[in-house]
Symmetry: C2
Subunit: 192 residues, 2 copies
DNA sequence: GCAGATTGGCTAGCGGTGCTAGAGTGCCTG
DNA sequence: CAGGCACTCTAGCACCGCTAGCCAATCTGC
């Protein structure tokens, strides 16, 4: 029995190594650099081994994305916890969100941009992602007013995402970044 | 002289054919289907001909994007012209924007998503794009208040873009689309 | 302790991608 | 009509994601 246990353990370790290698490579050189050959070399196995763990490259990226959701949720939670009043909490979580996206663009892309299977707003949404969304929703709750909280949160979140993505693509003036964030927060924290 | 004129004309026609073929193919089968081989077959020339017109595939996509900017600008202008009061104008242009993105996703992607050279907010922004942005800005002007109009417009635009992109990726509940748009408009048309 | 079955990683290769070098052809010029 | 030039095509490079089939090392039953 212990032999099989060892094998399963080793297999699990190798799977972790794949995910870690993919994340590291993506973060240091971008997703374009993450090829199956490169990944195989990184973990010191041959290419086909990857396919005995994941259905394909997409599945590897999805695994990285799920992990990333956990990091994002943690950072948003920390930002919310650090705030002392509701309005400041919204500003803080917005900044935390934008900072995460800027500091870890590859991870952010894996979660939100890549045409990956990660289905949201549906049954199999990873719990980490639901947690991140819930952090946003709880922070916004005092300002939702008569609007449905989920819809309100989605709208605010879209605003954040749009800023993050457009700025990364060079479509927005970087110098105005903080002002845009503040403007969005201001518009969504008005009462009545 | 007329011989050279004919050649230049034919060359220009072929360049147009390339752009049109790329756009049509992208709109009917998605950008993944737009390969240089496929494109060459479509215009009934061999692959290397493409490279005598464009530096590479990216440049072809950028050309499609620039064209698309013109269409977008036209639709936004029409929406603005059709409105009778300022608040309705914002709602109308927001709807027009979202509709354009949904009806022509490949074109929209070429303009805003693809990691293409199309530099915005800089010198060589295509004039069509500047026009589209100006339509937004003029529509929003009555509501910018003390905020810098350009920054205000960028923030609103980011909100639109975020909604469009996240919904396309299945990250937002489609059923709430109109409500989210209305919510965004409402938040950006408050005075004082 | 040894033959046979089985698991599992490897080599090699398929069909595709964007892009390019160099050959060859047809046209215009003198 | 000969020479030169402009232009297009064929063929191929290096890479991609992915997979079939071989081979070796391990475990199992006698």
């Amino acid at each position: 029995m212990s032999i099989q246990a060892r094998r399963e353990r080793e297999r699990a370790e190798r799977e972790r190594a794949i995910i870690t290698a993919a994340r590291d490579l993506a973060e240091s050189e971008g997703w374009d650099a993450v090829t199956t050959r490169r990944l195989a070399a990184e973990i010191e196995y041959s290419q086909p081994v990857l396919y005995s763990h994941f259905r394909g490259k997409d599945a590897i990226m999805a695994a990285v994305a799920v992990e990333g959701c956990g990091d994002l949720a943690a950072e948003l939670a920390a930002a919310r916890a650090a705030a002392t009043d509701p309005r400041e909490a919204v500003a803080g979580i917005a900044t935390a969100y934008a900072t995460f996206a800027e500091r870890r663009p590859a991870l952010y892309d894996a979660i939100f941009t890549l045409p990956v299977a990660l289905s949201f707003a549906s049954q199999d949404t990873p719990v980490e992602l639901a947690r991140a969304f819930a952090e946003l929703a709880e922070t916004l709750r005092p300002f939702a007013g008569d609007d449905d909280l989920e819809t309100f949160t989605e709208t605010f979140w879209s605003g954040l995402h749009g800023q993050v993505i457009l700025m990364r693509g060079g479509r927005l003036r970087r110098a105005e970044h903080e002002r845009r964030l503040a403007l969005l927060v201001e518009r969504f924290t008005r009462l009545g």
